[in-house]
């Protein structure tokens, strides 16, 4: 028996290889005391190498591993966003109780594992890699959410995310099975061909229910309403560096596969699913923005705002055009910058006042610490889509793509959502700048009595770091992200090119 070893393009696979090697090293570093403290450095090095590989493969456009992965503009750009988010999470987590309690490098290993899942997901062109990537992304993330072992909110959020996430995965898997049944193929391109070749498969009810279930499963991951309910709870409960990572990187990776699966594999069905996705997007915009209005916890508010933003981004897929994909990727990139800036400030504030993220704890920050108040201000204005920030251009881009493709009503929804969102974003800005400095809220309320003994016993060391606002690894991400959100708002062209690079990758399939 002769065996033909598959030809493997190691250059194209290099980002995945780099991350895997890094992951192994970090895992080993976790168990040897002498190197444990180099964990963050190792992680950052890994991400830098990965980013380097991705940039090296910038112009690549080829199938890898017998067509189960594909490295192209879409994969490279969105992987880069995920890698950036992960690097930021590493910095923000330095000294964070979640990281120390979970064991330093262990935490980083989980993060790297999740990132590996994202990179694979962004390249997936087969239902197998799609699902494997998604699970590799999700499972470490469930654990990461619960790494703040001494806060019940953290444990709760981890559990909640696990259960809800499993429901999402199961739904997705069920949907994939149905689509496989309809098309008889697992590769995205093959699914498309299979659906078109099959008799009446394009309007077969099982196919369409499968499409719906895949959409639901993905909607879970990117928190599209009505599959978003976990988002605020998990965002609030999870350690903030994890929340920051989850908020941006998961969206980047999940939207990558969302784009690829719906535009490539299910492209022939575009007429069937576009209305459904448009309805989901509109619902998300309404639910997210209205939900955020009443929140007092900053992280929770950002969770709801994330739901609304996911709705905006989903609108980019609805168009099923290259312009829509460009707009989505642009918006995602801007979203990374805005959220990183916001979450970095939240991390700093939380460390200074004993882990309370109530909006009222921001009072008077503008006067006391303008270096913290400005990033948050600009992040909020950018999320609200006010000029001259990247968020404004992003919304404009989306609206333009929608209007061009005759989805004017959805564009109007975005406009209305944007206006509603000013209500809560500006409330944060107002609290920052207008209120006088009040006393910082007392430490996080931890009700020891209600905790089971094995956890209550660990309450002894309330963590507080009054110098958090001087630590470069916390402040630098905030400032750089803010600068990016502003820079790309004033000179958006480089980011537009970045986004168009992603859209060009799909030029074979969509116009």
């Amino acid at each position: 028996m002769s065996f033909d070893a598959p030809t493997i393009d190691y250059a194209g696979l290099s980002p995945v290889i780099a991350l895997t090697v890094g992951l192994v090293v970090i895992v080993l570093a976790a168990v040897f005391d002498s190197v444990r403290r180099f964990g963050p450095a190792l992680a950052l090095l890994t991400y830098a190498v990965t980013a380097g590989c991705l940039i090296w493969q910038w112009n690549a456009n080829l199938d890898l591993v017998s067509g189960s992965l594909r490295i192209d503009g879409l994969a490279v750009t969105l992987s880069l966003l995920a890698v950036i988010a992960a690097a930021v999470a590493v910095l923000l987590a330095i000294g964070d109780p979640s990281e120390t309690q979970a064991g330093r490098s262990d935490w980083l290993a989980l993060l790297t594992g999740s990132l590996l899942g994202m990179v694979i997901l962004a390249q997936a062109t087969s239902m197998l890699t799609f699902f494997v990537g998604l699970e590799l992304l999700s499972i470490p993330l469930y654990a990461l959410c619960g790494t703040n072992l001494r806060r019940r909110e953290s444990l709760e959020s981890g559990l909640k995310y696990l259960i809800v996430g499993s429901v999402g995965s199961a739904t997705l898997l069920y949907g994939l099975a149905m689509i496989y049944g309809a098309s008889g193929a697992t590769g995205f391109q093959a699914i498309s061909d299979g659906l078109q070749a099959g008799d009446g498969m394009l309007s077969d009810s099982l196919t369409l229910v499968g499409v719906g279930m895949v959409a639901v499963g993905l909607a879970f991951k990117v928190s599209i309403a009505p599959f978003h309910q976990w988002t605020p709870d998990v965002y609030q409960g999870a350690p903030t560096p994890v929340t920051a990572f989850m908020a941006v990187a998961t969206k980047a990776a999940a939207f990558a596969v969302f784009i690829r699966f719906f535009l490539v594999a299910l492209g022939p069905l575009a007429d069937q699913w576009d209305v459904m996705l448009a309805a989901l997007a509109a619902l998300s915009i309404v639910v997210g923005n209205v939900g955020a209005l009443a929140q007092t916890s900053l992280k929770r508010m950002l969770g709801y705002s994330g739901v609304a933003q996911a709705g905006y981004m989903l609108a980019g897929i609805v168009t099923a055009t290259q312009a829509g994909v460009d707009a989505l990727v642009f918006y995602l990139a801007a979203y990374v910058a805005m959220n990183v800036a916001a979450f970095a400030v939240v991390v700093i504030r939380e460390r200074q006042n004993g882990f309370s993220d109530d909006i009222s704890t921001l009072r008077g920050l503008g006067r006391e610490k303008p270096l913290l108040a400005w990033p948050l201000t600009i992040a909020m204005l950018a999320l609200a889509g006010l000029p001259p920030t990247a968020g404004f251009i992003g919304k404009l881009y989306l609206i333009e793509a929608l209007v061009d493709d005759d989805w004017t009503w959805l564009a109007v929804m975005i406009a209305i959502g944007t206006m509603i969102s000013l209500g809560y974003y500006l409330r944060v800005v107002a609290t920052l700048w207008m209120s006088p400095a009040g006393q910082a809220e007392a430490g996080a309320e931890i009700d020891t009595a209600s905790l089971p003994p094995q956890i209550a016993g660990a309450q002894a060391d309330p963590f507080e770091d009054s110098r958090a606002d001087r630590r470069w690894y916390l402040v630098a991400p905030a400032l750089i992200a803010t600068a990016a959100a502003l820079f790309f708002g004033v000179i958006p062209q480089p980011l537009v090119d970045f986004a168009q690079h992603a859209g060009d990758a799909l030029s074979v399939w969509i116009s």
């Binding site: 065996f3 070893a5 040897f32």
Partner: protein, 126 residues
């Protein structure tokens, strides 16, 4: 036409046969508990097997966490090893360095995981 399903049938029959045989043997050969005998050996003999989980669990019963930990680790490594099996079956006939390298890589990754688990003390029974 149907003969291709024959192995399935054989497999099912074997399974029933072997399982049934053991259960029957157990019933026939095992010492019977005498009525009214309250000794611990006699009670234990009522349990279906002498290891694993008791079949009736009282509501207040809790497992040790260590049990779950070890059990889960076992399942993980067990399943990973299953993957080695088909490769092992064809490894010789393929005569390919690529396949060998893949297997070695796979085992190496497993080994890293084992080191991690070991050093973390997850294998110590506490």
């Amino acid at each position: 036409m149907l003969h291709q399903y024959l192995p399935v049938l054989v497999f099912a029959a074997l399974g029933i046969l072997v399982g049934g045989a053991f259960a029957t043997l157990n019933l026939v050969l095992g010492p019977k508990r005498l009525k009214g005998d309250e000794s611990s050996a006699a009670i234990r003999q009522m349990d279906p097997y002498e290891c694993g989980l008791p079949s009736e669990i009282s509501k207040t019963f809790r497992f040790g966490v260590s049990f779950y930990l070890v059990a889960m680790l076992f399942i993980l490594f067990d399943i990973e090893v299953v993957f080695l099996y088909p490769v092992g079956a064809i490894l010789k006939s393929t005569d390919s360095v690529f396949v060998l390298a893949e297997v070695v890589l796979f085992v190496a990754l497993l080994f890293v995981a084992l080191i991690y688990v070991w050093r973390k003390g997850a294998l110590d029974w506490r």
